[in-house]
């Protein structure tokens, strides 16, 4: 399940809802990761663009992988502006036992950072500035650069 929100992700409501959804699914472990906007470098918040078609297929591939391990993934992310001290991201794994969930949450979040088609901007002095230096090239980048 992949959920997108305009603005901050409603963390308490979302975590409570996910917990309830899987309450009788016989999972022994539920490991959520919540990403919150910190006050740093004079920003008033962050902002996000998302390309949904590729995000969906990326997530579906991960969901299939999780299923092979008997686990299920859930993810929520913000679109648009997200103020300081609110959250833009939740990833969660439910699995029968803890080991699968602990390993998968790390692998999933790392691949999310490297591959999910989401672009981050700093909100600073009334401007929306692409966070170029904190961004990661997707695998295979540079394909269209003509060799000279």
């Amino acid at each position: 399940m992949l959920e997108l929100f305009d603005g901050p992700v409603p963390v308490e409501e979302t975590l409570a809802r996910w917990y309830k959804e899987e309450a009788t699914s016989n999972y022994g472990a539920f490991i959520p990761f919540v990403g919150t906007i910190r006050d740093e470098d004079g920003i008033s918040g962050l902002s996000f663009d998302i390309y949904t078609p590729i995000l969906n297929s990326w997530f579906e591939a991960w969901q299939s992988k999780a299923k092979e391990s008997g686990a299920v993934l859930k993810m929520a992310h913000s679109r648009g502006d997200v103020p300081l001290h609110t959250s833009s991201y939740i990833a969660a794994v439910f699995s029968p036992k803890r080991r699968v969930a602990l390993e998968m949450i790390e692998e999933f979040v790392e691949d999310f950072k490297a591959s999910a088609p989401i672009w981050k901007y700093d909100l600073k002095d009334g401007k929306r500035i692409y966070a170029a230096e904190r961004s990661t090239k997707i695998k295979g980048s540079g394909l269209l650069k003509v060799k000279k």
């Binding site: 992310h77 088609p117 692409y130």
Partner: protein, 73 residues
């Protein structure tokens, strides 16, 4: 005609051109000053599937997307 679209922070309207492979697209875009710097940092999708081969064939109606470096979360 093939459509080229620029995602995220690339401030550029989509364009249409005649191309039979991604290589044709690369040659065309390399002459575009606005894209200087972006071509080496962007990944590429054709019809929303990521591709890594410059010889990927294109047909009329295909959609090529350029994906700049990402940072979700």
């Amino acid at each position: 005609m093939v459509t080229i679209e620029f995602l995220g922070p690339i401030q550029k309207e989509k364009i249409s051109l005649q191309a039979s492979s991604l290589n044709d697209v690369a040659v065309y875009l390399s002459a575009d000053e606005e894209l200087k710097g972006w071509l080496e940092s962007c990944a590429v999708a054709v019809n929303d599937t990521m591709v890594t081969d410059l010889n990927t064939a294109l047909k009329s109606g295909d959609r090529v997307s350029l994906l700049p470096p990402v940072c979700g979360g």
